[in-house]
Amino acid sequence: MRHGVARFVTGFLALPLGLYLFYVVWPFLQAAGYSLTDWGGYSDRQQFVGLENYIRLFSDELIRKAFWHNVFFLVTVPLFTIALALFLAFLLNVGGREDRAGVRGVFGSGLYKVIFFFPQVLSLVVIAVMWQQIYRADGQGLINGVLMKIGLINSDDPITFMYDPEPFLGVPAVLWWLLLIAVWSGAGFYMVLFSAAMQSIPKDIFEAAILDGASRFHTFFRITLPLLRDTVSVAWVYLGFIALDMFALVYIMTPSQGGPNHASEIFASVINFNAFQKGQFGYACAIAVALAIFTILLAALQLRITRRERIEY
């Protein structure tokens, strides 16, 4: 009997596992292999160069710049997305008026849920193209046009968004504008995730707190947040991956894919430049492998820090 079960399970798992190995794990290993060569990407000629690419990586100024930009996103994307998503989820589930029917969300929360989730159903490319029009750097852009109409900015001096490398809080403005899009497009999904988690918290806990005279502020920080800890930590890891990517937005929206003058350069754009413009596939693979190792370490670290006893309801 047991033997039969094993066969049954194997039968189901073999195909997806095979596909996964062939289309995911195998290319990863290939990239690691190429990272030890000087392959250019256009031929089948390559020489084994050992760890040369990895040594070069550490003295590459552009990579250092890209690294710090990725670190910026790594800190800000999860922070702002989770904060906004939690805020929205709290309002939609337990933020409304308390009455005899118990705890509920603000009026019309069903509609808001759909609206906030909407960016999630759009492809990232569509989002980028849409924001190009919103950010367009003359009077025909949505934001610039409106601000000019109401006289907040001079028509000779539009906001330049993607073309603005001037630092704000030490970080190029273009990165802050990209961050806004990333948070806008990500918050809806995590709002739904947190909503689901909040709904699994028994309502009587909230009601007991309210009876004891806890304010909304206290309910959120003393009850909701601690009980969502697991979900938030998973969200943090996911958003960390997104923050280390950010390629689509940078590639589509910024001038010369990482500009102006390298102000929005990230790991992925440096990989893209080395592999596809400079023709140094081996080196690009080395950067990619380094990035993968960094990502895995980070995820492990995050899960480790947030690990804790679970509360069973």
Binding site: G40, D44, N261
Partner: protein, 468 residues
């Protein structure tokens, strides 16, 4: 790295194994290269060669042609296909057109590439890499082949500069089919109405600019997204001011080439244009800026002769598109009359293309009198074949012809961005920084010199040189 024919995969594997380096995993990985599938080579069973079929195109074979569908469109290519099929009715031409050349063609280069690729646009495959990797075929035999429908060889039928522009490391690799003239465009109707004369030098432009501004028009607009647009203009000014040899030295990474006499003043003229706020406010891309110019928001825009075709759908009635030469600095100029023109829109034949003979034959058809005349007619741009625009009536084309007639003995041509991807990127970035007013001319020179020195010292980058 790169061109090293005696070290093939097999040798490499043997050496790796012999060295005992990571023996099992490394061999396993390396043998898995995406490029390890040998491609079929149809050239072995080539057809009969003759004067009418100089490359021995095989009957009943197929040739895959990829056209860049950008500013020039792709209608002209279908005419070339008709020219080709008339001579080789049994050969199937599979033509496709795209804007994403690199995205679609690069992954196939090491295994089963298309036979003929028009490598152009923003998403093109880096030429120096293609050549260094041995991924494209030298086409010198195309030059010596008889012309399709005129006397002499194919080389005889081409406009000056075409062969030189397509030659790298002494071999002819890239067949440029369009002949592009760059310069400053203006609306002839507007200038006639206002009594303005298009300036020849920056000083004349700076005198005219206040009058243009007084009419509520910005004197100048440029593409703020693609750094290679303003870079054409900057390099043209440098050539006119500092002379031909200065640019050749820059391309050859000669020491202190960017500090040569005349380079800095050329860039300072552009710095002044920005500082004096003569540029239309806002940051627009190529088509947005061209549209702003067509809408009368700006007086001058600099771009090549594909402009008319690219904007054909939105040219307002009564708008007279006219081309004038780039501005020089005046009396100090070493080459004031040299024109920025050259063959563009390059075709390449991948080394692993299954039907190279038909690819070359197709190129011969593209460069034919019949094909090139259709090209000029449909695109309002000159083809790189002589006499293509003789029968086309068009203001944009005829002013371009006029600019060419007044041209000095040399054509302005810059190889820097084809030679080195790093300097390509850096010069694009710095051009945009200069045009955005964040960089002075002196800083531009310093940074370009530093970047050039860095490439010159980098042994992993294959060096290239030009003498003409």
């Amino acid at each position: 790295m790169s061109v090293n024919p005696d070290l093939d995969r097999r040798t490499l594997l043997r050496r790796a194994a012999a060295a005992g380096l990571l023996v099992t995993p490394a061999v396993g990985l390396l043998s898995a290269c995406a490029g390890s599938t040998p491609s079929q080579n149809n050239d072995d069973k080539a057809g009969e060669k003759s004067k009418d079929n100089p490359f021995g195109v095989q009957d009943n074979s197929a040739v895959k042609v990829v056209i860049f569908n950008g500013g020039l469109g792709d209608a002209w290519a279908k005419e070339d296909q008709a020219v080709f099929t008339a001579k080789h009715p049994s050969v199937t031409v599979n033509m496709s057109s795209t804007q994403k050349i690199k995205t679609e063609e690069q992954p196939k280069m090491a295994t089963q590439p298309s036979d003929l690729i028009m490598n152009s646009g923003a998403d093109l495959m880096d030429l120096s890499t293609l050549i260094n990797e041995g991924a494209i075929e030298p086409l010198d035999d195309l030059l010596t082949a008889p012309a399709w429908d005129s006397e002499g060889t194919v080389a005889d039928s081409l406009l000056p500069g075409t062969v030189n522009d397509g030659t790298f490391q002494g071999k002819f690799f890239v067949v440029y089919v369009a002949f592009t003239v760059w310069g400053n465009w203006y609306n002839g109707a507007l200038f006639d109405r206002e009594g303005w004369t298009p300036p020849k030098t920056f000083d004349e432009f700076f005198t005219l600019a206040p009058q243009i501004k007084a009419k509520g028009i910005a004197p100048y607009v440029y593409d703020a997204v693609h750094g290679y647009y303003p870079r054409w203009a900057l390099m043209a000014t440098i050539w006119k001011s500092a002379g031909r040899q200065a640019v050749i030295d820059i391309d050859n990474l000669k020491e202190n080439a960017w500090r040569a006499e005349g380079v800095l003043p050329a860039l300072e003229a552009w710095e002044k244009l920005v500082k004096d706020k003569l540029v239309l406010p806002g940051k627009l891309d190529h088509t947005q800026s061209q549209q702003a110019w067509l809408d009368g928001k700006a007086a001058f825009i600099q771009v090549g002769t594909w402009l008319k075709n690219e904007m054909a759908a939105t040219i307002p009635p009564g708008f007279e598109m006219k081309l004038s030469d780039y501005w020089g600095l005046g009396a100090s100029d070493k080459a004031p009359t040299d024109v920025f023109a050259g063959a563009g829109e390059g075709f390449v034949v991948p080394s692993k293309a299954p039907n190279k003979a038909a690819a070359k034959e197709f190129l011969r058809a593209v460069l034919s009198k019949a094909g090139s005349a259709k090209f000029a007619e449909l695109t309002k741009s000159l083809a790189s074949t002589k006499g293509s625009g003789d029968n086309v009536q068009d203001a944009a084309l005829s002013t371009a012809n006029e600019v060419m007639k007044n041209a000095g003995k040399d054509l302005i041509s810059v190889k820097l961005w084809d030679f080195y991807a790093d300097l390509d990127k850096e010069s694009q970035n710095l051009s945009q920084e200069l045009m955005a007013g964040r960089l002075t001319a002196a800083q531009f020179v310093d940074k370009m010199q530093a970047a050039a020195d860095k490439v010159a010292k980098d042994s992993s980058i294959t060096k290239q040189t030009r003498d003409a």
